[in-house]
Structure formats: structure tokens, C-alpha cells
């Protein structure tokens, strides 16, 4: 039985790669996307979600449109376009989608789907957690209905990538993260501590492009600017597979070292706003509220990623 997943996402270059990896993985049945502002604005993330599914012949997967701003903070604006390109998908050019979003707001769509089958569906959240937080507050039964929530976000021991301390998704809506972390949903967190160990290099992209496939070409186009950004700002050869690494929680959990901790996020408004921290020494005496990936076999995951995409490209030739 494949794991049935609803994905809350802000595509976004690495979001696109996560969607690709999910569709390329037989262990996963991707049942719906809900969109949120984040890497780029909501109009663009929603358009990208629809366009991407059409490009991958998967437009049977419904898309619900979500929140256009974080709960409390103003959105970061167009900063994300430097990382993800003007459209959010780097240099990739996908045709305007013909399919439309489903009628309900993403918050209501999430509530509807999870309450219809309590304990059956897994939620993946790879953008700011605004939609998920609102679903939790609007429907008190939502949290109990979610089988598991896998989040890309946070930097526990590692430095931040948007402030010296904070990771982008959490920093973009720290209040939403605070709601989600303290909701009682069983969470697996995939923080920067592990995602920065999974670097997709230009060589990997070229290997994939050994196959003459529009999908392989898409991966090259969607990562080109992304890689340049990493080289310019962070001195890496390659780009971090932040969002795709969440998929490992289902398809290759053996690659992750997981610890259980009480993790929270700073919403105090000081310099560490948006910082995720784990109570490693149990000083707060609070019970663990999530599983956190703190180690990863990075190269093995990147190889798995490329292999999965290779078979996917071949199957679609």
C-alpha cells in the first residue's frame, strides 16, 4: 500500500523537484496539492503547481489555493525571486496551465480531506505553515485526523538561511509554525541540518540529461539559477535538495538519523525570531513533540534522487 500524501507547497524550484520525486516513487500516492505563498507569491505558486502537474501528465491531482500572506508578519516580498527566479521555477518555461484550482480554499480542502478519512492521510508541508496552522485553529478535530506531518523547515543546530539563526519556511511564518509544532500532530521535521548535506551538483544534472527527456531538461532549467545562487551566496557547488529530502521519510527512512525532541520556534520578536530550537537537555521538561532528522547519508540520497528521476524520465519517453 503506497503512502497517501497531500502536499502543501510553494513551488519554488526545490518544491518542483519534490513533486517530481513523489510522482517518480511507487511508495507514494500523491493525492492533492495545496498552495501557499512563500518562495514566490500565491498567484505564482498556484500557477506553478498547476503547470507542473500538467507538464507531468498528472493534472488529475487536484490543487487547492491557500493563503496569500503569513499569519502575522508581512510577506517577504520578491526576495525569493532571487533564489527561485521571477516565475519561481528558475529558467524553466512551462505552458500556461489549462486546469483550474478546485473550489474550496486550501484550508477548507485540507480539513475536508483529512476529516473524511481520519488517520489515513499523510500531510507533507514544504512551504510556510500558514494553511496548516489555520486548518488546526479552524477545525479542532484536524490535528487528530492527520496520520503524520512531514515538514521541511527549521535549522536546529545548523545556521539559518534567511537570518543567521532562522530557516526560510519557518521564519516566513513563525506564528504558524508555533501553532503546528504545538498542535499534537505527529511531526517529522527535515531541517537545514540535513538538507544542506544533500547537494545536487551540475554533474548529477548532466547525468540525468544523458536521457533525452523534457523532464530531464526541466530539471536542468529549474536548477540552473538555483545553483548559481548557492555558488554566489553560500559557496556550494550544487544546490540543496531541501524539499525533496522530505520524501526520504517515506521512500528511504534508513538514510536519515532521527531523534525525538521537544522543538519549538521563537516568536518573541527579537533577533532569533523564527529560530527553531530543540530542548536537547530536556531543561523544559516538556515531552518530545516531534521526530527530527539530524543526520543523513547525503550522497546516497542524491544518488537515489537521480536514479528515481532517471527511471521516471525513461518511463515517460
Amino acid at each position: 500500500m503506497p503512502t497517501r500524501i497531500i502536499l502543501d507547497t510553494d513551488p519554488g524550484a526545490d518544491d518542483a523537484l519534490a513533486i517530481l520525486l513523489m510522482l517518480a516513487s511507487p511508495e507514494i500516492q500523491l493525492e492533492a496539492l495545496t498552495t501557499v505563498q512563500g518562495n514566490v507569491n500565491l498567484e505564482k505558486t498556484t500557477r506553478n503547481a498547476l503547470a507542473l502537474l500538467e507538464f507531468l501528465n498528472a493534472s488529475h491531482i487536484p490543487v487547492a489555493k491557500g493563503c496569500s500572506t503569513p499569519l502575522i508578519k508581512p510577506p517577504h516580498g520578491e526576495q525569493g525571486e532571487e533564489v527561485h527566479g521571477k516565475t519561481g521555477l528558475g529558467q524553466a518555461i512551462l505552458p500556461e496551465p489549462r486546469s483550474k484550482v478546485v473550489e474550496p480554499h486550501a484550508v477548507d480542502y485540507l480539513i475536508e480531506r483529512f476529516l473524511a478519512e481520519p488517520g489515513e492521510l499523510t500531510l507533507f508541508a514544504i512551504g510556510p505553515l500558514t494553511n496548516v496552522a489555520l486548518a488546526i485553529r479552524k477545525e479542532p478535530k484536524f490535528a487528530q485526523a492527520v496520520k503524520e506531518l512531514v515538514i521541511m523547515g527549521g535549522a536546529v543546530r545548523s545556521g539559518g538561511n534567511i537570518t543567521p539563526l532562522a530557516e526560510f519556511n519557518i521564519h516566513e511564518d513563525p506564528h504558524a509554525a508555533h501553532v503546528v509544532f504545538n498542535s499534537g500532530i505527529p511531526i517529522t521535521l527535515i531541517p537545514l541540518d540535513v538538507t544542506y548535506k544533500c547537494l545536487l551538483t551540475a554533474k548529477d544534472v548532466e547525468r540525468l540529461n544523458g536521457i533525452d527527456s523534457p523532464i530531464a531538461k526541466f530539471v536542468r532549467d529549474v536548477t540552473a539559477d538555483y545553483m548559481e545562487f548557492y555558488l554566489k551566496y553560500e559557496g556550494f557547488d550544487g544546490c540543496a535538495l531541501h524539499d525533496p529530502l522530505t520524501v526520504a521519510a517515506v521512500i528511504a527512512p534508513e538514510l536519515l538519523s532521527i531523534e525525538k525532541h521537544y522543538v519549538n520556534v521563537d516568536i518573541s520578536g527579537g533577533v532569533s525570531t523564527g529560530k527553531t530550537y530543540a530542548d536537547f537537555m530536556k531543561v523544559s521538561k516538556k515531552p518530545a513533540n516531534m521526530k527530527v532528522a539530524l543526520g543523513v547519508k547525503g550522497r546516497e540520497f542524491v544518488d537515489l534522487f537521480v536514479e528515481r528521476l532517471e527511471s521516471f524520465c525513461r518511463s515517460r519517453l
Binding site: 493563503c67 496569500s68 496552522a133 489555520l134 485553529r137 479552524k138 516568536i267 518573541s268
Partner: protein, 315 residues
């Protein structure tokens, strides 16, 4: 033309008096009532809203249930102020009517979007429902007529912490969202409500009319007066919410200032404190009208007369 209002409320003794004042006022039509956590749990505030409507023979007014927790903070209720049931010593029968299906925040969105420019929101409790509605449907900002909010303490001391008023302290993050939303807003802070005290003499005047409503007002406010006496050394009780309701149709009760008002969400000692930038150091546009001066007797006469009318009709 009467004003169409939706009341977002956590009854609550003074909330219930505000609902009664609205029902007694021909200037207003209550389109719906939305419950929220606050004075007591949402389970209880919903029940109380239904009971009050039944008491006043107004159960045609639909009630929608809203949020039962603040957006971000932990829950804080106030049974010491309003009693365990939320209505002091009053014991109203279990309501026969049920809340309507659908979430309170969605009712706000539907009504405002289907009747642009016509709906006045009157928010008497923590602002959670309205904050959620704003995040789900940002276009309500341009389509709501106006929003009256009971909350905050601008130059007045707080009533829940040294600095913060109860409604804004319970959900400061929701208040932050609403204050900065761009909706046309009129705030009734403690600065004016604490100048309007409902006294034992006022109650005795109402009790000359034999009505289940006067009995209710007596039973509920007796508890409320004991609270004010014990905690705040005030003789009588402060009826914040009816004052906010009165301003929707009799604005001349108060004097207003256009101000830049913000709420502290930084989780320090000032959490939930509402503060005005009187000298506009922040150079931000004014975001609300704030009632800063009041004619207490004008309000109290209005309230008493309206209650007398309503009580005479419902025996």
C-alpha cells in the same frame, strides 16, 4: 435604514447585555451572531448566545460557532469575572435552538462578500474569528462597511495584566492582524468603558418592570458587581460591550481620535498591550478611530431606556 450588523462575541455578562441592547434598538438589524472563546469556552459562549436570544424571543437570529482557541497563544478564560457559565448567577434554560452549520469565520466571509459595503462587524471578544476570515479571504477588507471593536487600553491601565485589556491579551496576534488589516475600524478601549459604571440604582430602576429579562440582568450583573468590587474596588460594574454596541448607532456618546494603534505581540511584559503612536513617530497612516472621551450619563440613559422598552415588551 437600519444598520446590518454581525456580532462576534463571547457571552459573557456584558456581551449578553450588548446583544440585548442591539435587539432593543430599531437602528440595528442583527444578521447573525458568531461565538468565540474568551470569557468562557466556545461551547459555553455558543450556548449562551442561543439562550439570550431565546430569552429575548429572538431565536430567528442565526448563531454560528467560531474558534475555540486563540490563534497562537494558549487559551485563557475568565470564569472569575463572568462565572463558570459565563452569565454570572443567571440560570437560563438549556437552549432549544442549535447553532447553524458552518464556521463563524466563513459566515463573516460569505455575508461580507455577498453584500459589499453593507455589513458592520461588531467584535466584542477576542478577534480570532475575524483574523482567520481576513487570512482566508483578504477581500473582506474592501467589502466590509466598518468594524467596531471592544478592546484595548490606550492610556488606561490594563484589566488583565498591568498593561493589557482582556480581549487583546487573550489573542494579541489576532488583534495584530485585525488592527493592521486596513478595515475601517472604531475602537472602544477601557479608556471610555471604565467611565461608564452600571450601578445598583440603575439595576433597581430596571427591576421596577417585572420581566424575565430584568430578572436576567439582575442575576447576571450581581455576580459582575461582586467581581468588580472584589478585584477592582469598583462599586457597580463596567459594561464595556453595550457601550461598543451603542456607538454603532449613537456615535455622539463618544469623542474620537484618529490614531495609529498597534498591539504588542513580542511576548514580553507588554504582551497584548494596545498603544497609540500619538506623535506618529512611526510615520504610519492612522489605522483606526479610537473613542477617547465619553458622555457616561448619555450612554447609561440610552441603555436603561432601551432595556426598559425591551423588558416591557417581554413579560
Amino acid at each position: 435604514m437600519p444598520k446590518h450588523i454581525i456580532i462576534d462575541t463571547d457571552p459573557g455578562i456584558d456581551d449578553s447585555l450588548a446583544i440585548l441592547l442591539a435587539l432593543a434598538s430599531p437602528e440595528l438589524v442583527i444578521d447573525g451572531i458568531i461565538s468565540v472563546h474568551g470569557n468562557v469556552s466556545t461551547e459555553q459562549t455558543t450556548k449562551n448566545a442561543l439562550s439570550i436570544l431565546e430569552l429575548a424571543k429572538a431565536s430567528h437570529v442565526p448563531v454560528y460557532k467560531g474558534c475555540d482557541l486563540p490563534l497562537v497563544k494558549e487559551s485563557l478564560l475568565s470564569p472569575e469575572t463572568h462565572g463558570d457559565s459565563g452569565l454570572g448567577y443567571a440560570q437560563l434554560p438549556e437552549p432549544v435552538t442549535q447553532p447553524k452549520a458552518g464556521h463563524g469565520s466563513d459566515y463573516i466571509i460569505e455575508q461580507i462578500m455577498s453584500r459589499p459595503g453593507e455589513i458592520t462587524l461588531v467584535a466584542l471578544g477576542p478577534l480570532t474569528n475575524i483574523a482567520i476570515a481576513l487570512r482566508k479571504e483578504p477581500r473582506i477588507v474592501k467589502n466590509v462597511k466598518e468594524v467596531f471593536v471592544m478592546g484595548g487600553a490606550i492610556q488606561h491601565t490594563g484589566n488583565t495584566t498591568a498593561l493589557a485589556e482582556f480581549n487583546t491579551f487573550v489573542d494579541p496576534h489576532a488583534a495584530h492582524i485585525v488592527f493592521h488589516s486596513g478595515m475601517p475600524m472604531i475602537l472602544t478601549p477601557l479608556d471610555v468603558t471604565y467611565q461608564c459604571i452600571f450601578m445598583k440604582d440603575d439595576l433597581d430602576r430596571l427591576l421596577k418592570i417585572d420581566s424575565p429579562i430584568t430578572k436576567y440582568i439582575s442575576d447576571s450583573t450581581r455576580f459582575y458587581m461582586e467581581f468588580h468590587d472584589e478585584y477592582q474596588s469598583i462599586e457597580g460594574c463596567v459594561i464595556n460591550d453595550p457601550m461598543t454596541m451603542a456607538l454603532t448607532f449613537m456615535p455622539e456618546i463618544c469623542d474620537y481620535q484618529d490614531l495609529v494603534v498597534d498591539v504588542d505581540i513580542s511576548t514580553g511584559v507588554g504582551l497584548g498591550n494596545t498603544f497609540a503612536d500619538f506623535y506618529n513617530y512611526g510615520k504610519k497612516p492612522k489605522n483606526m478611530k479610537v473613542a477617547m472621551g465619553v458622555r457616561p450619563r448619555m450612554f447609561m440613559e440610552l441603555f436603561l431606556k432601551r432595556m426598559e422598552n425591551l423588558c416591557s415588551k417581554i413579560r
